[in-house]
């Protein structure tokens, strides 16, 4: 009796897949060509106007104008004041993790300075990783703040209404200061391209065995579903890596996307993301009866991945049900990792949660695939 899992058999399977991949030159060329094509096509971003963006307020003033401002922010549809923070550091941390879109700082003595006509600064920090997500909200901010304060300008202060705004709104775009949408799109594109090609590759490679009749032989050999799965997935991890290299090179040298964080983090999480996608493809192949069905399933999967992951539309602009779907798609998490590391300089601890989600998705999908894999021709 041999074990349920054997390294030798798995290596045999991997070797076989490599040989077949090498013979399939057109597919190989396509896998390298697709990323380049997509980069060109998606170079231009799509805008949108999301609302209810999570906002935190640091109120060091505790005066009437500060309170009025918070009330006005809460009343507007653009901002959801989710919490009051006590320190700059806490706010920074929340912004880096993507928990906040905006951080409004009301400086000490704000109310008094307004009353004295000192035109104090009101600081708003925005997570501008995705410029489309913040532009609408920022445009309304000036007016919103002025209106908020106006009712309190009574008596002698009424004079201030006439002149220039009684305070200076200072907007600080973090992470993507120039609001270049390509900075946001190009790293996201890496995830999109990988989803499209990786899922399709494994979905087709198993159904191809069925269509060509070689499955009958494969099933009669002492190979376990896990060995077959690992064997099918491994060669494509390398192909996926080639794509990552192509896109990263293009991001850095063609689109001049800034690289704030550590490239190694992107490279490492890419491996996990590639494997997760290949496992999804393998699962599709266990559901599909032939190559056509496998292709249809892939396209069916591809659509929500593009629309609901935050690639095309800002994640926060989506209704809750769509966000929930987004959460179970690997692309959503990978997008956050890549944007976080490249544009915000996220470190290992910042992305750990997203990496964990990717690992969880991979685990769940693998279990389904191995369970669903039909060992017979029934």
């Amino acid at each position: 009796m041999s074990a349920a899992f054997s390294l030798r058999r798995m290596l045999a399977m991997i070797g076989k897949e490599f040989v077949q991949m090498r013979r399939d030159r057109p597919t190989f060329a396509m896998m390298v060509g697709i990323p380049l094509l997509q980069l060109v096509l998606f170079g231009f971003a799509i805008n949108s106007d999301p609302r209810h963006l999570p906002t935190a307020v640091l109120d060091a003033d505790h005066g009437p104008f500060g309170r009025a401002l918070v009330a006005a922010l809460e009343a507007s549809t653009y901002f959801d004041v989710e919490r009051m923070v006590a320190s700059e550091a806490e706010a920074d941390h929340l912004l880096a993790r993507g928990k906040l879109q905006f951080m409004v700082s009301i400086p000490p003595d704000f109310s008094r300075q307004v009353a004295r006509g000192d035109h104090p600064a009101l600081l708003v920090e925005a997570d501008a990783t995705d410029p489309a997500a913040t532009s609408g909200a920022l445009n309304t901010l000036q007016e919103l703040a002025e209106d908020a304060i106006a009712p309190d300008l009574t008596g002698p202060l009424a004079l201030l209404k006439a002149g220039p705004p009684p305070f200076e709104l200072r907007i600080h775009r973090r992470y993507n200061e120039e609001a270049v949408s390509q900075y946001n799109v190009v790293p996201g594109l890496m995830g999109v391209v990988l989803t499209m090609t990786m899922v399709m590759m494994t979905a087709l490679s198993v159904t191809r065995e069925r269509d060509r009749g070689t499955m009958e032989n494969l099933l009669v050999m002492p190979l376990s579903p896990l060995e077959i799965m690992v064997g099918k997935i491994t060669p494509y991890v390398l192909v996926g890596y080639l794509q990552v290299a192509v896109i990263l090179a293009a991001s850095l040298w063609v689109f001049h996307v800034p690289l704030v964080g550590n490239l190694l983090l992107v490279m490492l999480s890419s491996v996990l993301y590639i494997i997760a996608n290949l496992a999804v493809g393998f699962t599709f192949s266990t559901l599909a009866r032939n190559q056509t069905q496998a292709l249809q399933l892939t396209l069916f999967y591809f659509l929500p991945s593009i629309l609901l992951s935050g690639f095309m539309f800002p994640y926060r602009g989506m209704p809750v049900w769509a966000q929930t779907i987004g959460e179970i798609l690997p692309l959503t998490h990978f997008m956050r990792i890549v944007r976080g590391v490249m544009l915000k300089g996220n470190g290992w601890t910042d992305i750990a949660g997203e990496v964990g989600m990717l690992a969880l998705i991979l685990l769940v999908v693998s279990v389904i695939a191995v369970r669903r894999f039909r060992r017979t021709l029934d």
Binding site: K16, Q20, R23, G213, N217, V220, P222, T376, D378
Partner: protein, 321 residues
């Protein structure tokens, strides 16, 4: 290893195997027993359920009903263990056409965990006579060579039971003879073989044959037993004059009571029936015609199969299907 014989527990022992596809019964309560080292020929018309039966034996299909063992292992519970000891050659070529002959054999050797892979592969290539074409893609081989490659690959791991599904379809006579020589050699080494075929001469090379039609086992035994068991009586009518027409004679006989079998062979007509008395009675009238000479002879295996097939169709339709 032991010489071929009835000794030892049967390698294949299944009872009441039944398989349905979408409500249609394709294999119907089939029972088979094959002793170690024997070659069992598996015959039957197209679509009679041979491939389906073989797939159930090696665990590729789950029977809807019935039970049994292969190599002493339960076909339902121990499919994985059976697979390791069985060599299965599929009817349709199922090795990788985009891999070379050598790569295919190496893959098989590695999956079965053979030690000394190079040696196994080289020996197989040598035996096959494909040593100089080892780097050729399997898909570029001619049909007959593909069959030879498939056989070589399916015996690479020294299985104890060989299931061959029409292994010689499209293979030239010389290669077919080599093929059978090899099968006999394997059986002599103690390997049990179940081989499906449409060729009568191949059936006659088997120790034992089983004939199925519409999923039902109609006859089983040695060739002589099957021929005798059919109870078929046959005559050959040979034309005596140039003007005597075999086709004309066949037309006269068709549909008469007792005539179950009519087959022209050149200037002769083969006539047979399951009911000897009725056949004699019908023929008595025709035999007066001096244009033909009549001779009683031995029915061939083919006569028997065609007769069985006709009879089972009658039963099948009679059953209201």
């Amino acid at each position: 290893m032991s010489a071929p014989g009835e000794s030892g527990a049967p390698v294949i022992a299944v009872r009441g195997l039944t398989k349905r596809f979408g409500g249609r019964t394709v294999v119907d309560r089939l029972s088979l027993a094959v002793a170690p080292g024997r070659i069992m020929g598996f015959l039957g018309p197209n679509g009679s359920g041979k491939t389906t039966t073989i797939r159930m034996l090696c665990g590729l299909l789950t029977p809807d009903e019935g039970e049994g063992t292969c190599l002493g292992l339960d076909i339902r519970r121990d499919a994985a263990a059976i697979k390791r000891q069985v060599g299965y050659m599929t009817q349709k070529f199922s090795y990788y056409e985009d891999m070379s002959v050598e790569e295919n054999l190496t893959f098989v050797a590695r999956v079965y965990g053979l030690s000394g892979i190079r040696g196994h592969v080289d020996a197989a290539l040598e035996r096959l006579g494909l040593a100089d074409r080892r780097r050729q893609l399997a898909g570029e081989l001619s049909g007959g060579w593909k069959q030879r490659l498939a056989l070589a690959a399916s015996v690479l791991h020294a299985p104890r039971l060989l299931l061959l599904d029409e292994p010689t379809a499209g293979v030239d006579p010389k290669a077919r003879r080599d093929f059978w020589e090899q099968i006999h050699q394997l059986a002599d080494d103690g390997i049990t073989v179940l081989v499906s075929t449409h060729y009568m001469d191949e059936a006659e090379r088997c120790h034992q044959i089983a004939y199925i039609a519409y999923g039902q086992l109609l006859a089983e035994g040695t060739v002589a037993e099957v021929v005798a068991g059919a109870g078929l009586v046959t005559y050959t009518a040979s034309a005596q004059t140039p003007r005597a027409s075999v086709v004309e004679l066949a037309r006269r006989l068709r549909g008469l009571p007792g005539i179950d079998l009519l087959a022209p062979f050149g200037a002769a007509l083969h006539v047979g029936g399951g009911d000897a008395a009725l056949l004699e009675q019908t023929l008595a009238a025709v035999r007066a015609d001096a244009a033909f000479s009549w001779r009683r002879d031995q029915p061939s295996l083919e006569d028997v199969f065609i007769h069985l097939m006709g009879r089972s169709r009658d039963n099948f339709q009679g059953a209201g299907l």
